[in-house]
Amino acid sequence: MPAPEQRRIIFKHIDEPGYTNDLACYLRNGGYEILKKSVQRKPEELIDEVKKSGLRGRGGAGFPCGVKWTLVDRKSGKPIYLVVNADESEPGTFKDRYIIHQDPHQLIEGIMITCFANNVKLAYIYIRGEFPEGARILEKAIAEARAANFCGPDILGTGYGCEIHVHRGAGAYICGEETGLIESLEGKRPYPRIKPPYFPAVLGLYQCPTIVNNVETLCHVKYIADIGGDAYAKIGTPNNTGTRILCVSGHVQRPGYYEYEVGKITMGQLLNEVCGGPLPGRKFKAVIPGGSSAKILRFGETFNLKNKDGSTRTLTVEDIPMDFDTLAACGTMGGSGGVIVMDDSVSMVEALGNINEFYAHESCGQCTPCREGSLWMKKITRRMVHDEARAEDGALLKSVADQIAGRTICAFGEACAWPTQSFVQKFGDEFKDYAAEKKAENDDSLELV
């Protein structure tokens, strides 16, 4: 089956010749019209549209956006904050930065609609420290929007006011975790909070109810406010509505970002047709479907899934539709949409070593299993790669990872354990034979001398 056409909603103007990130260009393309319409509606109506749309968060967890908004404590009498998570730091993910760089007003419009719907008077964009240009662009865009009354004390003459501030991170992956982000925003070390009791919807920023949404999610909100929740729910597949941006990197002919209706394209179509297949003379070996913390899929493995009617179907990796639910049923996740492809030139031990280096470096160090476990796993894979590997190291790695997942304060525990668990589970032989292979390789090189 040929791959479907891209459906560019969020990325409509990305890379469009002549399209610039200033307000004038955005207005020429119909910008802020949806905001103008939205502020004439009742806020509850807008929340209802988002609920009906079935929009799921695009940051990684895929939590339904409407439900998140419903959970917000509106009776506390405290102000409600919106925090825009622009700390796009999951390795393999590069979607939000294009929105910020090329179409920042789209994000600001989405933010303002969300703020209006939730009676938010103050919004923060928490942008990762490695995006200095993005921060400058956003500052400029906010100033433009403020000058044109799209944000500020009296938006479009309605009397409703809302300010947006850009806050730059200082370079830590954990600041993408929502409660870590909130701590960082408050000026503290980004130690994720324990939940319960610190659910952002109740006790978030400055202990006030807070909505934390991803950049891409808020852009979808703008689109939903335009076409309505019911129309949006028809895009994509049931429970996996809308479009999502897939960021493909690694060993394919045409890596890049592609926007498709959720679940309408399979992994095989994406990699083989859209991305042009493997590099010449190579075969796909494995793929991580949702950013580096998602569990890896091995080409050649199959998945027996239950259908709704009770029957079963068998899927290969190529058959998996790129949605939230099927990827979860296959033991991994859609995550942040970062698809990392590896071909048969890759050593899984070394690839895992790379991932483990990252997570050991990024563990905040607050709770024991992640702090000690992530570094231990890194030390093991580093020793395997650069020093002496042992046949039992694979099993040890898995056991260490098992002691982390599910036992930490935040989801980083799973993020750092899942790669190790899945690499060892799916490529166990490679870990077992790594010592012997390396020895053989070294013996070869000796002969050359």
């Binding site: 324990i194 470096h361 563990s363 905040c364 299993p369 056991s399 002691q403 982390i404």
Partner: protein, 565 residues
């Protein structure tokens, strides 16, 4: 009359046993009441909950109800309501009791969680127990023994961190031993209000440190050493001095102010090595000031009074008592009692003053209160003098009125108990004019000038009671013996009372208490033995109008402040 509201009790089930606990109790505390230990490091009952050590992971479940009808679902196997167990373990410290909460602490999952956390905590720990001061009272040792696997799978290199960082004058940090529980950080911020500690770097390389240019030098810094579950924070005073398992623990009271922090005195073979706080939720929680921990140093110093003296020459107790009696028989005596004496001694001082028909005085000591555990009244037992009737009004800092009486020739002999009369405002000429019978622990201008010197004991060398600012009667016990051949203070006091013509009273604390209980209404039915370890709050209403000098402390509100809502 409205009955006081009953505390909200919530029944939870832990390992199959039910217990009713007040609302807000967490699983660790609820389990503790059942005698079930939930091991933990970062949780401390008096600090905020952060849940970072993950040692207290337990299995949690709630009774199953039908989602539609909310009717309980019964488990056919047991006939009881089915429990939905949550597959993901929860931390006991942040899980508060809720109706029907079920907890399991003995399942394979919980065992595995604890083994995992223990292994993680130990892989980068230096395991230098043989040279570590914490050994013997180290939770890492205890929980490794109780809940660890007993072997290590770690063959990589351990992290290297600073081994000897002086955080302040009294606290030394070994970062390699630190398990990053953040108790010390939370204590400094929440209790001492001196937010100088924090972590730098991240992951397993996180390092405890002091804010640049600052020191951990507040008067509560040593509490961080107490609450450190491992040997990361050690006391520069106690470090490398003694193994804790050789030390004898004696319950005592911090005598430096009217707060009366409950303490433990740690001694071996008659030598005190350290003082630590003893938990009393009504007084000092689990804290005490650093200054109170130094008090033991006054026990073995060169200027201790060690021998009975009459007119400057060494003598014996009976001869000295006789000499004192001769002086007192001449009349015109005055008694200067002490707010540092125990209740029992003040009772006997009162008897002495009554026997002599002499006026009694007390010397006030006032310092700066810190609002935590050091009050403005630096006498531990002024209220004891009120309750025993030794004084009727609050003492002043200077004995000016007594000086005037001396100048007027009304006073010829002064019995000074522990107070240096010169320091209390009498001039050298005034002291010259009277004869002094001095009972005290350390040499002073008064002891040099005294006609009779009767050496006494420090609170570490005797037993007794103090009444603190809350009118809480608290007892302290003898931790170490006094100097060789020393007579107990109560014996000396009792002999002096008898010699002055007063009643014959026992010089033993247990034998003396029936007399106190009989004579003083506040002490009715109290004996030294039955006084609880955490003290007994007495009725303070007879003295409620007095202008006490103390401001608020941790568990004390001045009457004036308490009255205004």
């Amino acid at each position: 009359m409205i009955a006081p509201p009953k505390p909200d009790l919530i029944t939870v089930n832990i390992d199959g046993r039910e217990i009713a606990v007040p609302k807000g109790t967490n699983v660790i505390e609820a389990a503790r009441q059942l005698g079930i230990e939930v091991p933990h490091y970062c949780y401390h009952p008096k600090l905020s909950v952060v849940g970072n050590c993950r040692m207290c992971l337990v299995e949690m479940g709630m009774p199953a109800v039908d989602p539609a009808t909310k009717a309980p679902i019964t488990d056919p196997a047991t006939g009881r309501q089915k429990i939905n167990w949550i597959p993901r373990p929860a931390i006991g410290c942040a899980t508060n009791a809720s109706p029907g909460l079920h907890i399991r602490t003995t399942t394979p999952l919980v065992k595995d969680c604890r083994e995992g956390v223990m292994e993680f905590l130990l892989i980068n720990h230096p395991l230098d127990c043989p040279i570590c001061d914490q050994a013997g009272e180290c939770q890492l040792q205890e929980h490794a023994t109780g809940y660890g696997r007993g072997y290590s799978r770690f063959i990589e290199r351990k992290n290297v961190k600073p081994k000897r960082t002086l955080l302040g004058p009294r606290v030394m940090l070994d970062d390699e031993r630190c398990i990053l529980c953040s108790r010390c950080i939370r204590f400094s911020k929440e209790i001492a209000h001196d937010d100088v500690l924090g972590f730098i770097d991240r992951g397993s390389y996180s390092t405890l440190t002091c804010y640049p240019g600052k020191k951990l030098e507040n008067n509560y810094s040593l509490n961080t050493v107490d609450i450190c579950p491992v040997g990361a924070l050690t006391s520069t005073d106690f470090r490398f001095k003694m193994r804790v398992w050789f030390l004898k623990q004696t319950d005592s009271i911090d005598a430096e102010s009217s707060v009366g922090c409950n303490t433990v005195v740690w001694s071996r073979e008659g030598v005190i090595y350290r003082i630590t706080p003893r938990r009393n939720d009504g007084v000092n929680d689990t804290w005490m000031p650093d200054s109170g921990r130094e008090l033991y140093k006054q026990v073995r110093v060169d200027n201790r009074l060690v021998s009975v003296k009459v007119n400057g020459a060494d003598s014996s107790l009976d001869i000295a008592i006789n000499a004192a009696a001769q002086l007192l028989k001449e009349g015109a005596a005055a008694v200067v009692g002490s707010g540092r004496s125990s209740v029992e001694e003040q009772f006997l001082t009162k008897k002495l003053a009554d026997a002599l028909s002499a006026p009694a005085w007390l010397v006030s000591r006032v310092g700066q209160g810190d609002g935590i555990l050091l009050s403005a009244d630096r006498n531990p037992n002024v209220r004891g003098a009120l309750v025993t009737g030794l004084i009727k009004e609050l003492p002043s800092v200077q004995l000016t009125a007594l000086g005037a009486k001396i100048d007027a020739g009304e006073i010829k002999t002064i019995v000074a108990i522990g107070e240096d009369l010169a320091a209390a405002g009498l001039t050298a000429a005034q002291i010259e004019k009277v004869r002094v019978i001095y009972l005290g622990t350390h040499a002073s201008a008064t002891s040099v000038a005294a006609a009779v010197v009767l050496p006494t004991l420090t609170p570490f060398e005797k037993s007794g009671t103090f009444i603190n600012q809350q009118f809480r009667l608290q007892k302290f016990h003898q931790a170490v013996p006094g100097r060789l051949g020393a007579t107990d203070d109560l014996v000396v006091f009792a002999k002096l009372v008898a010699a002055a013509g007063g009643p014959a009273l026992p010089g033993d604390i247990h034998a003396l208490w029936p007399a106190l209980a009989a004579e003083i209404p506040s002490f009715a039915a109290i004996t030294f033995a039955n006084l609880p370890a955490t003290g007994l709050v007495l009725d303070s209403s007879p003295w409620s109008g007095l202008p006490f000098v103390e401001g608020p402390t941790l568990h004390y509100q001045p009457a004036a402040a308490a009255a205004t809502p």
